[in-house]
Structures are given as C-alpha cells and as structure tokens.
Symmetry: C2
Subunit: 357 residues, 2 copies
C-alpha cells in the first residue's frame, strides 16, 4: 500500500520507497529501467527536463489537500456516526503530514486518509547506495485505506503521488507521478467489481485507451500474496508509477491524468458502500472477513515494499500501519467449502478476471 | 521465529533461512563471519571436520521426534480438552515434516509443534548466489509456538535445529546447531519471567557459565520490532546459532547442550501455564492480548528472516504461518495508560531486564 517508488539498490535488488508518506532518511532520485513506456511515460533526455518545479509542486500540494478534505467529508457523511481525527506530524529532516483516522464508525470500522509533503537533501549514502542524482528531493501524496464493519462492503486502498529531484540550482532533475486504487471485497458482487473497474477505466481512457488495460494488469501483478499461490488480496483496480513528463505540455497532461484518477475515487467506491452497507451479516461472514483481513496483513507486511521500506527507514510507524485491519484472524490451513460464497471470492483472487472490456 | 540460518547473499545483505522447517528450494552452506566465538563455537579448519554424519544426524532425528511427542503429550494433558492433529507433508526436493496443530483448546487457543527432516543437493544457484560449498545439505529441527486463550498465560516460542553440508564423498563439510526459546507475556509476573530465564540458564550453565548471558543478549537483540523503538515482542529467553563442533568430542558436547536446552522447555514453560491458566480475565485483558498479538504478527512478518525466507523460497506456507496468533487487533496509535498493568508489560519490552543474576 501507499505510494511506491522503486529503487535500485547498489546490489541490484529492487526495493521500494513509500513515496509520499513517511519517507525516512532515504529517498531516491536515480536512473533506472522504465517500468512502462507509453505516451504518458516515454523516455526523455536530461535537456528536456521541465523547469517549472514550484508551479506543478504547489498545484499538486493544493490538489492533494483538497482531495483529502473531499474524501474525508464524503466518508464521514456516508458513515453518519464517526468523524476523522487529524494528527499533524513533522518529519525531522523536512516536511510533514496530516494523518486522518476514522475508527469504530457505523459503517467504517477503521480507516486512514493521509497526506504528506516531505523533502530533503540527497545524502552521500543515497548517491552511492541508490545511484541518486540531484541535490535535493521532494515528495507529496495522498494514501488511504478504509476497512468497513460490514463484510459485504469491500475494503479499499488508493494512493496518488508526485516526486521531484532538484539540482544544486534548484531546477528539476527528474520528476514523476504514480498512483492507483484497488478493491478488496470479502464477498463477490460482480456488479460492484465491474462498477469499480469501469469507473477507474472511464477516468483514464481520455488519456489513452491503452492505459487502463496496462495499469489494471500491473495492479493484478503487484497486489498478490506470492507465498499463497499468487492469490491476490482482492479484485484489483489500477496501479502505475514513473509517469514522467517529456515537456511542459506533457506535464500538464500528466497532472490532469493524476487529477482524473484521484477525482474518480469517490465515484468508484462510495456507490458500493451505499449499496451494501445495510446487508445483513452474521458471525460466519465476520469470520471470513477476518480471515481475509489476515491475508491483507500478510500482503502489507510481507510483500508491500512501500510499507517495509517506510518502516525500515524511520517513517512514522503509526501512519504507515494505519493500513492494517482492526480485527484479524489467522487459522491454520483454513479453506472455504468448494462452491460456497466464500470460495467464489477466493477463486477470483486466485484467477483475476477482466471486469470490463 | 523458527530456526534461523544466516546467509550471506552475493550482494552482502544478510538474510536468513528457516532452517529445520519448510526450507524451499534454497538452503545454505557457506563461509561467513562467526556470530559468536566461545568454546562451543570456536573456529575450525576444514581439515578438522567431524566425519560421523550419520551418527549425529540419526541421533538428532530421533531426539527431535521424541521431544515432539513429549511436548505434545504434556501440552495436551495441560489443556485437558483439545488434542494435536498431525499433518505429514513431503518436500518435493527431499524430505518432509510433521506439523502438529492444536486449536480452540480450553487452555491453548492455537499452537503448533512442528518437526522437519529435509535435505537436498546444493544447486548452482546456491553456489554462486550464496557462496555455498559442498554437494548436498541436510537439516532437521523442531519449531513450536503456543498461543494460550487466557491473557495471563504467556505465548511461547522455541526452536532447536541441526544442519550439515556434505562433500561429493558424502562426508561432512560443515555442521552446526542452533536454537532458543522466548516468552511473550501479556501481563508481567516477575516470578514467571525469573522462572523461565532461570530454567533456561540452569540448562546451559553446565556447558559454560558465559553461555546464558551471551545467548540471553542475542535473544534480546533479535526479537525486537525495530520499527517501534526496538520494543521486544516479549521478555526474551535465549537465542544461539552456528554452534560448530571442533572435533568428535566437541560434537558430543554440543549434542548434549542442545538436548539439555530442548529438554528444559517443558520445565521452563508449563509451570507458568499451570499457575496462570485459571486467572480470571475480562474483555480489557483480551483486548490488550490482541493488541500485543498484533506486535507478534508485525515481528514475525516484517522482521523474522526465517519466516520471510521460508515463504520466499517456497516453504510450506501453512506450517510456517502456524506461528501467527488466532485473533489479533490493530488500532491506530494505541498506548496503554501510564502506570497501568498493560504499561508495565510494555516497559519491560522497551527496556529488557536481567531476570537472573
């Protein structure tokens, strides 16, 4: 979960940085293999770097904080009981964040909608170990995870982030956007899955028809428990990173793409909440929800490199681990009965589907 | 948790192997810096290698299976309700194990007492990536984790293991023992902590007075959540690895040392269970137990390299993750009230004590 910034360690092992939030000592600005290439992300020469840092940066910060407000307000309204509480925190080495937590609501059992705006100097260790360039870095993003009470309402995660590296003259040496959203239902409602994917797809398509299929695939690949036969933690969504602008016009388009994705979140998720939040559930449903939440914990703590790197580099632990579900169950070798409603969900996690054409 | 075998990857990063249990494709036999040096673990030249593989190996396998039987029987008797069920499994590339699970007992909510006897060929990948020597390897051990129902009864973990590497002639190229036991209480009873440590110490002292202090320290260092200000998951115990025999006599002594530690387990743990299992507890105690179990999950999935390496190298997932507690709770920024019984436990996790002189 959280935004992910892949880094290439000296030894060639790929790790990731929790980009916008809770970056500790270590942040990254380097040359690496491109994860994707399309008109949003094509390579560019150094000389083509866009030199209007403060503009994009300030616009992005404003957007992220506005989006945080909008999402929190909408979720509070939907809950009807609990409200978000805010913890503002400062990062010792530069910047800080606003962690907003909702807990024990009528609809949302636990959730966080966090923003951070962090920056720092590129250290010698970053230069040598991470092959980073530039003199300083900047990162800003929003990261959210929502765990509902009702096992028929899915958990959701989303994150949108922007990153810059600057040279000694304060000009941008590198910059990129990343983001995504993915859904983790406990019971499968195909309509809900289609609605979520369709909404994300609709937000992307104006920027290129090839984007949704590609980023849907990247999401399927990323959010899997490889130690459980590549079982996904849910039914996916979209996941993208390193969207680098080629020029100013491209930067504006990327910015608009990023906004479109962020703005689509409430439309993708809230209707599902509205539709399912009054479904009657019993202990069997709660038990299964807690088993699946266990898989969520496994993914976040074993595989999610953003979480791990954040924790290992002195990120703010409580902001990072707000993603963990409120109550969880681990049972030895639990398997739902073949053909049961629980098994139907498991099967789409084991065999990801195309939800929209 | 589980036995830990430190490996030195090509890139210089230290990782570990879940040694006795659930080793996947990858096992390790290599030269590395000694973690400790004392009369049980002093360096030895290749020429000094002990050449009586089958004897030590067969004796160890017998001991481990007998210990598994004894521990399971004693725990079943103490529980009075549930019994262990056994899953025998085979490792595709050689060997297998006996996973024994107890669940929903009167005293023990979830627990596993697992043995494995695994072996394989040293592959080219192991040779190049792990700088392993030898032609084949062998590993055998017992690994256990017990999660009681009652929050006043501590969780316990223990593991004892033996490892061999062989050359093409089938002679031992390297061999060592490792092991340990640690206690995770939810409420602090100083008598219990002293009893646990004293019993482990008594088992070790005949082999050298310096051993308990050193292995107690190693345990304190290892079982910590570094992302939570080095908070330990419990009050520790002992932890040791790479105890290499210098000669046959030394191998016999090491074997006896290992037996003494394994045999001390029931005496260290069961009296605490007997003393506390009828303590009256309420929802507050259960809540705190589940919060602390969350820290146990964090340690096992984020930091325990045995668990992680086992999972990443195709170990048997269900046998490895039997260590996870049955019900768990993750709350944002939860802190017990200063001076409360919950806080007293937390303070000894943050500031490990010397329990015996």
């Amino acid at each position: 979960m959280h935004g992910l910034l892949w880094i290439l360690l000296r030894n060639g092992i790929r790790a990731t940085v929790n980009l916008p939030v809770e970056i500790g000592k270590l942040v990254v600005c380097y040359k690496r293999k491109r994860m994707m290439s399309n008109r949003l992300t094509s390579d560019r020469e150094k000389s083509q770097v866009v030199h209007h840092s403060s503009d994009t940066k300030q616009r992005w910060i404003s957007f992220v904080h506005d989006l945080q407000d909008r999402i929190c307000q909408a979720l509070e309204k939907e809950d009807g009981g609990a409200v978000f509480r805010e913890d503002r925190w400062e990062r010792k080495d530069g910047g800080g964040g606003k962690t907003r937590i909702i807990a024990n609501g009528d609809v949302f059992e636990k959730g966080g909608v966090n923003t951070s705006v962090v920056h720092g100097k590129v250290t010698d260790a970053m230069r040598t170990q991470l092959k980073m360039e530039g003199d300083s870095w900047f990162a800003c993003g929003l990261s959210l995870v929502i765990h509902p009470v009702n096992p028929f309402v899915p958990t959701v995660h989303a994150n949108w982030r922007y990153f810059e590296c600057h040279n000694t003259e304060g000009k941008i040496a590198d910059q990129w956007f990343g983001g995504g959203a993915d859904l983790t239902p406990y019971y499968l409602f195909e309509d809900d899955a289609r609605h979520f994917h369709q909404t994300l797809r609709n937000a992307m398509t104006p920027f290129g028809a090839e984007l949704y299929p590609k980023f849907k695939q990247q999401c399927d690949s990323y959010f899997t428990n490889s130690h459980r036969d590549n079982e996904m933690r849910g039914i996916g969504g979209v996941f993208y990173d390193y969207l680098r602008p080629q020029d100013e016009q491209d930067a504006d388009r990327l910015f608009a793409f990023q906004q479109a994705n962020g703005n689509a979140f409430l439309a993708a998720y809230l209707p599902i909440v509205v539709k399912r939040k009054n479904n009657v559930w019993n202990e069997r449903h709660k038990h299964w929800q807690e088993i699946r939440r266990g898989r969520y914990v496994e993914f976040n703590l074993i595989h999610d490199r953003g979480t791990l790197f954040g924790l290992r580099t002195n990120g703010r632990t409580e902001s990072i681990l707000m993603s963990l579900p409120p109550t969880v169950r681990f049972e030895y070798n639990f398997h739902p009965e073949a053909g049961s409603e629980e098994d139907k969900l498991l099967q789409v996690c084991l065999h990801p589907r195309q939800w929209v054409e």
